[in-house]
Structure formats: C-alpha cells, structure tokens
C-alpha cells in the first residue's frame, strides 16, 4: 500500500510536555507542523511519571540551558496554565536543612539562585519553617524559601498543549513510531512512520529517552541517553494536608533528592530515588527502591503513613552523556535537525521556555515565522464535576442527566465527563488516557470499581470492542476475550491437560 504523504514545514518527534509545547508554540505561526508520537496518547512517557513540580531555579549551574530555561519557564507558567486551563498552584517551595552543615549550604543555594535570577529567595529559621509546615521533621534547622516554586499537572499541560496545537492546525499522529529519517546532503528531508511519509523542512527531536536513537537516524551520535529511573509513592487525599508545598532535602549529587509534595489534585507524592538503568523500557519499581523513597520521605515528614499509599510507580528521566545540560540546538552537521534532548529535571518547568528557544532556533535556521491572525491561545479547561459548587452541578445534570451518573466513586467523575474526554480534539482511546484526562481510576481504589464501567463506555462511544480496549495502547489489552472462548481454543489439548493438572500437588508449603 502506498504510504500517505504529508508535506510539513516542521515535524516534531515526541508528544511529551516538551514536544507538545514546541508544537503549540509553532502553531502561532503560519507553518505546517506535524507532531508524531510512538505511543497511543500524548504524555505517556516521562511526562506522566515525574514529581510534577514547577521549580524556582536555584539548582542549576548559572549560565546553563537548565538554569536559563528553568527561570524563564517558571515565569511563563502562570499565563501558560491560565490560557490552557491547566492546574497550577504557586505555593512556593522549601529546601529543608536537617543539620547546621546543611543550613550553611542553603546560603550557597540562595546565591546560586540569585545568580540565575530567581526572585525572592530567603533562608528562613526553624520556627518559621514549622509554622509553614507543621508536619515537617521537628529536627529542621532552617530552610530555603522559594516563593516562585509551585506544582502543576504535567499530563494536563501536555494534553492541553496538544489540544490547543491541534485546534490551531497542527496535525498529531499517535501510535506513530518514527522508523527512519531521510537525509540528503547534510539535511533531513523526510520522516517515516508506518504508513506515513512526511516531507519535512525541519525536524525537531523531542523524543525524550529515545532522543539518541532518533538522532542516530540522521547519522549523528553526539550524545547517549541513559534513563535515570525514579520511583514514587502516591498517597491518599486523606493525608494531602500533611504538606502544603514541595519540601526538598538539601540536594544530593545525583538529583534533587527525595521530595514530599502535594499534588494539584490534593494527593501527596513522595520520590524520586535515582538509579541509572540500561533498559529504556524498565519502568519497574523495586522493593529496595521504594524502601529508599519511604525512608527519604520520612526524613522530611516523619508522620507519613505508608498505609495511606494508594499506588507506586516509576518514571524515567532522559539523562544525556557526555553533556550534563539540556541539549538544545541543531545537530552538528545536520542544521535543520534540531535537538531538544536530555530534558531531565527541571524539564517540566522549562518546557514553555524550551518551546520559545526551539522556535527561535528554527527562525535562525531559516524557518519563516509569520504570526497567524486567527491563532487562539486559549483552551478551555474541561468541566470537572468535582470542582463545581452545588448550583453548577445541579445545572449540569439538568442539561444532561449523565452528569448525575457517577462512574468513578473515589474521584466523583460522572459519565458525561468521561464521554467528553473521549471526544476531544486529541483522541483518547485507552483506560490510562481516560484516567489522565478525568481522574477516573486515579483515586484510592485505582480503578477497581470504575475500570469495567470505563471499558464499557469506551466500547459504546468509540465502537472499540471490549477485548480490544487497552490500558495504554499497543498490546496492553485489558481482557483476553469472551468467557468460554478459552474452552473452545483448548478443546484439543484438553485430555493431556487434565492428566497434568491431576498430577500437580494440591498444597505445597
């Protein structure tokens, strides 16, 4: 079959918060942009599994991309999130020193932050820390207060970026792994996905932990990404009040350490530890890693009750070697192939600024950027029943009774909200997709109650048979078939099976 051909000015590879942010930034201009993503949905990589922090920007070495884009990104957050209807809370953050030695280091951090241009940093004494955070380790000596710190929802932001980009003319291809990039005379000219060939004047590599593999497709091997795995515990909303803002320990060498922070949804999250792993698919949690997370978290908040944990998970950060900084700019020797790679922490905070930086690099490389008169920067926040007051809730149910039919009991998500999520501009076909958009299944029972019901709604609304509904795309099927099917399949082997089953011990201790 002849592949579909798409002519694009820019192909952006990777629909995490970085790629979607770049695509949305470019959608302001009169350029043809295609955003391709190998997974079944946007935000399914690093974006869905991180600490969800908007960093102030005192950590990074002054003069680096990380330092500049963190501080700039932080400043862009309020407007970006307001325009796109994304949860964001400017609650400030604290770096908590547990010893006099550590307290001394706070001043170093403060100075570094000031050189980076972080406003309002202040070292505050023990009493003030305890007043701000009554559940903090009483052994606290002092803390660095960063008023510009905050929290957000990374996947909400990526989904909102993607929806706004699509609304402004960007084409989004999901389940579209890049299989090759055509290069001629030192310039990339096409990007191939199964069944699609895109002619591209520029290619942006925002492929996260796979960015080195993508760069190799243009014959370059400038960096290598080694994923750094971070494990997390998520806690019930019941203990969400234990902290009011991100609490950091004094940073360790490898990372910012194990953080305890509220989420914008009212939960508590603790993590990450940091372990370099060889396998880019290794999203496993480990008993050792989770114990490390709990121990680290309890150094900050000793009263953190493990029995209130509702899930644990791991995320992979794209750590690039040999360069410790973000890799942003044209690939050496392929000037129209622009990397936005090695985006580890503070990548989420930097994302809006990375989008601007990549835009400028594209302009310098010769992409004409004429502003579109009809660009609409606003994407309305989807209605969330649980966020409304009683009058608004009543009015909604009157307009459509399905607003009164609660599917997810833990997060109070009605059927109408799920249906709406399934029909938005960026298609959502999976259980995880529904969870990230509506929070159905994100609560304390983790989909035990609503899972079967959401499968049924996806089936009804999208015409996907229940056996074909997946957790997160690919072969992550929820169900294996109709009941009795396996009996028919195995009719032939039945006799042998019985004998074997009969031979197995009944009770082994």
């Amino acid at each position: 079959m002849q592949p579909r051909r798409i002519a694009a000015d820019v192909v952006v590879i990777g629909a995490g918060v970085v790629g979607t942010g770049i695509a949305r930034e470019l959608s302001r201009y009169d350029v043809r942009v295609v955003l391709v993503e190998k997974q079944a949905d946007v935000a399914f990589g690093t974006t869905k599994a991180n600490t969800a922090l908007v960093h102030a920007g005192y950590d990074a070495e002054p003069g680096t991309w990380k330092a500049r884009l963190n501080v700039r990104g932080n400043a862009l957050y309020p407007k970006t999130c307001a325009d796109l209807g994304v949860a964001y809370k400017n609650c400030g953050s604290l770096v908590v020193a547990a010893t006099e030695n550590e307290a001394g280091y706070l001043h170093e951090l403060k100075e570094r932050g000031e050189r980076n241009g972080v406003p309002g940093l202040e070292v505050i004494p023990r009493e003030q820390v305890i007043e701000l955070e009554p559940h903090v380790n009483p052994g606290v000596v002092a803390a660095l207060w960063a008023p510009t710190g905050g929290i957000t929802s990374p996947w909400e932001l990526a989904i909102a970026y993607a929806e706004n980009a699509v609304a402004n003319g960007v084409e989004l291809l999901l389940s579209a792994p890049v299989t090759g990039i055509g290069v001629r005379r030192g310039r990339a000219f096409s990007v191939r996905c199964p069944g699609v060939v895109m002619d591209a004047r520029f290619v942006v590599n925002a492929a996260g932990i796979w960015a080195d593999d993508i760069e190799r497709m243009v014959g370059r091997d400038d960096f290598e990404i080694t994923p750094r795995r971070g494990e997390y515990y998520l806690f019930d909303k019941r203990v969400g009040h234990l902290v009011s803002r991100p609490l950091f320990p004094v940073p360790a060498e490898l990372s910012k350490g194990i953080v305890v922070t509220p989420t914008v949804d009212g939960n508590l999250i603790a993590g990450p530890n940091a372990l370099l792993v060889g396998d880019k698919g290794d999203l496993s949690t480990t008993a050792v890693g989770l114990a490390e997370v709990l121990e680290g978290a309890r150094r900050l908040v000793p009263g953190l009750p493990i029995r209130e944990s509702i899930t644990n998970f791991a995320g992979l950060r794209a750590v690039a070697a040999p360069i410790g900084d973000f890799i942003i700019g044209p690939s050496p020797g392929v000037p129209n192939f622009i990397n936005a790679a090695g985006i580890q922490s503070p990548g989420l905070t930097a994302a809006p600024a990375i989008a601007e930086a990549v835009r400028d690099i594209l302009a310098d490389a010769g992409l004409a950027l004429a502003e579109k008169p009809d660009f609409n920067s606003v994407r309305k926040r989807p209605t969330r029943f649980s966020e409304l007051g009683p009058e608004e809730q009543s009015a909604l149910i009157e307009s459509d009774p399905l607003w009164g039919h609660i599917i997810c009991r833990c997060e109070t998500v009605p059927e109408a909200e799920i249906i709406e999520a399934l029909h938005r501009p960026v298609s959502c076909t999976t259980l995880d997709g529904v969870k990230f958009r509506t929070r159905a299944g994100a609560g304390r029972c983790q989909g035990g109650f609503c899972g079967p019901r959401v499968v049924a709604i996806i089936h009804r609304e999208l015409g996907i048979s229940p056996e074909k509904v997946t957790k997160k795309g690919g072969a992550s099927f929820i169900l294996s078939g109709r009941t009795k099917d396996p009996l028919l399949e195995r009719a032939d082997e039945c006799v042998d099976e019985r004998e074997e089953v009969g031979g197995r011990a009944h009770c082994r201790v």
């Binding site: 998520l234 009991r409 201790v509």
Partner: protein, 438 residues
C-alpha cells in the same frame, strides 16, 4: 436542589443495607429510603454466582443473587423505598446527606437516623506495594469477577492469584471452569486466608496448587503481564533471597483483603477503630455520632453473608428504636480484644441490653488454634465461655452472651472496666489469670 425527608436513610443496598432497611421498616420506622450507587439492589452479591450463601440463616445453599433476592423481596414487602444509580457524595456531621443521580440531580436528604452500609473495597496493588512493571493484566479478584460473571469477558488465560482470600479462591475455580489455567495461588501467611471449604472446593478439587508462605516479588511485562517472580517469605513475611522463581502468566489476580469503605463515616464525624478500619459501634450498631448506625463490611470484614445479615438486623432495630425515642440509656461497658483475639465488635455494650437480651459479639482470632475456650471476662470473672474445636483468623467467631450473664453490678467496677474476650487453651489450668492481656 431537591430535598427529601425520611425517618431512616440507608446508604448501600448490599446484604447489610437490604436487611437493615427491611428490619427498620418492620420495626415501625415510617419512611425508609435505601440508596445504592449501582443499577441494581444486592451489591456485590450479584456477581457472586457461586453457591454457599444462606446455609446458616436460611438453611439453604443459595447463590449470591438468590440470597440477595430473598432480602430484596423482604425489603419490598416491608415497604422500603429504593433509589438506585445514586451516589451519596457526603454525609454532613449533622446527618444531612448529599446525593446525586440522573433523574433527581443533586439532592439533599435529611433523615432522623442514617444506616451506613457501604461495604468494603478491595485492597489493590498499591495498598500491598507489589514492585515491578505496571502492565495491563493486574486485577483485583472482585473486578475480574465482575468482568467474568456480569459482563462475560475473561481477564486472561494464564492466571496467578496472590492471596488466598475467599474471592480469589472462588475466582480461581471460576476461571478454571471458564477454560483459563490457574498456575498457582500464593499466600504470604503460613495459613490460608479463606474459608476451609473454599480451599477444598476451589483449589484442591480443581488441582490448583496453593503455596503458603509465598508472595509475588516482581511483575514482568511492558504492555501486558508476561509473568511474575515469586519467593518464599520468612517469619517476618520478608521474601527470602535465593528462593525466587518465575511463573509465566498473563494475569495477576489480587485477593489480598478488603478495606471497609468509611469515607462517609469520616465525613459524618464517626470515630474509627484502627484495627477493623470501621466505625466504633455500640451493641445497637450505633456509631459515635448519635443517630448514625452502621452494619456489614463497613464496620468490619465478615466471612459469611449470614453474619452480615444478622448484624444488619441489629442495626435496623437500633435505628428504629432511635427514631422512636426508645434507645437504651444508662451505663455502658466497653469490649476489648484479649489474648488470641484481634478485635471485638461491637465496642460498647449497654448494661440494660445485657440484662434484657442476648448480645452477640463478633471477633476474629489472631492465629489458628484448636480446642480452645473463648471467654468473656469482666474483672477476674468469666461471665461466659464457649468451646471452639477450631479457631482460624479467616473465620469469624460469634459469641452470644446470654441475657443476664453480665449483671448490672459490674457498674461497681467503674468506667475503666472492660469486657475482655480472650482465647484460652482448653486443656490447661482454668485458674484465673488476673485479667487478660490487652
């Protein structure tokens, strides 16, 4: 916003809610509204299509839906009003309920008394912290049961079950009958968590191996489960390095316990027992909030539905008495779990009730034992004692204290006096122990 008023509002129409509502109505309450978030009455019984329900109470071996039907009919005949597909969003400390459904929208329901019967939810992977990958194919046993029994879909073809709770055992058999292959059932404890009859009928009779003292230490597979690593555990339930082996499978079912669903109880301001996870209740099944009653798995996890129904009758009667202003007053005594007992429900007993009627206590043993006396002790006096051939943590013990056994004279002991229930080996000296351990 619509507003409804009633004598008694019952939240949850599973076996507890059904029996409590019917009994309250039969005892003279005027308007009793029974609410449930599902589309049918009966709660989880509807997906429990196996038999074995009602042996004790109805002297019949019924399926879950049949047992439900019996009590649905009783509630209907008694004149209980039902509201289905209705989610209770909150119960304000004053007892005002906010609920929502498609036809009524957002509603306020004010009731003179409330009976909480929300049941329990299953402990999931996060609650037991199973490390590993996070592919599709990890289900709680109850969610899988719904898929198989209610919707006609298979969760997988090669199954490993973690936990020997009853739902997991029942599902191991069900999935085998549906053509799946259950590779193993793993139980971290040295003894099974489910009823003996389920071990026999669901595992032994099906040739499914049960590995006691084992757990899952890793889950494999990126998209769908491809296998699990299991290991033996030591006495402190920690996996023993070097004992691991892999089992290929596409599904991991979790049957690792139930958590009483007490979000609304917390809303209402009810005091919770950290051991049961449910509200502290009196022998009327009244919580620490006057007029708010509770029964069934929301109070403590039961083994048999028959016991749920019995407890619900007590709650229904208690709520009806409350509405009629005929509640027992006067002195109370608290119960406490003694040696060999994990918890006792109810927590508070009225001396008037102890004098006037038989009072049933439900409890669980901390460890399996044989040939024991289960004793209720006040001060240094054994007020009632019962021989049990076998006690197992999986099976609830009921101890009915005959009327008049605890005399009102115990009031003389003072408010710190407890009615302690303990397990004592039968064959050793029956001399007084000077009070049981707490």
């Amino acid at each position: 916003m619509r507003i409804a008023e009633c004598d008694i509002a019952v939240i949850g129409a599973g076996p507890a809610g059904l029996a409590a509502a019917a009994r309250a109505k039969q005892c003279g309450a005027c308007r009793v509204i029974l609410m449930d978030r599902d589309r049918e009455l009966g709660g989880i019984l509807n997906q429990c299509i196996h038999n074995g329900f009602g042996l004790q109470l109805l002297s019949q071996e019924l399926t879950g839906p049949e047992y439900a039907e019996h009590f649905i009919n009783e509630a209907r005949d008694a004149g209980v009003e039902t509201m289905l597909d209705t989610m209770v969003l909150s119960v304000a400390p004053g007892g005002r309920i906010t609920a929502v459904n498609r036809s009524g929208g957002l509603m306020r329901i004010s009731a003179k008394a409330i009976i909480l019967a929300m049941g329990a939810r299953e402990r999931n992977r996060g609650a037991v912290t199973i490390p590993g990958m996070r592919p599709a194919g990890v289900f709680t046993a109850g969610a899988a049961q719904r898929f198989v029994n209610m919707e006609g879909y298979m969760p997988g073809k090669r199954i490993v079950v973690l936990g020997s709770g009853d739902i997991g055992l029942i599902m191991a058999r069900r999935l085998t009958w549906e053509g799946a292959r259950v590779e193993a059932v793993l139980e971290i404890l040295p003894f099974p968590s489910g009823l003996t009859r389920n071990i026999v009928q669901c595992l032994n009779d099906q040739g499914i191996p049960l590995y006691l003292g084992h757990t899952v230490v890793d889950v494999h597979g990126e998209e769908r489960v491809s296998g699990v690593t299991v290991a033996r555990v030591d006495d402190s339930l920690k996996p023993i390095p070097g004992t691991e082996w892999d089992i290929e499978c596409d599904t991991l079912l979790l049957s690792v316990g139930l958590i009483p669903e007490n979000e609304l109880t917390r809303d209402a301001g009810g005091e919770l027992d950290p051991v049961t996870g449910g509200p502290v209740v009196t022998d009327e099944m009244e919580t620490s909030v006057p007029g708010v009653f509770a029964c069934g798995n929301v109070v403590h996890i039961h083994d048999l539905v028959d016991n749920v129904t019995r407890e619900a009758w007590t709650a229904g009667e208690g709520a009806a008495r409350f509405v009629a202003g005929r509640q027992p007053a006067g002195l109370t005594i608290r119960t406490r779990a003694g040696d060999g007992i994990r918890y006792v429900v109810p927590h508070i007993l009225h001396l008037d009730n102890l004098a006037a009627r038989d009072v049933r206590l439900f409890m669980r043993a901390t460890r399996p034992d044989e040939r024991v006396q289960v004793e209720a002790v006040v001060g240094d006096q054994v007020v009632f004692s019962k021989f049990e051939r076998v006690v197992r943590p999986a099976e609830m013990i009921a101890l009915t204290i005959p009327r008049g056994k605890v005399s009102s004279g115990v009031a003389a002991f003072g408010s710190e006096t407890r009615l302690i229930v303990r397990v004592r080996p039968r064959d050793c000296d029956a001399g007084p122990k000077g009070g049981a351990k707490a």
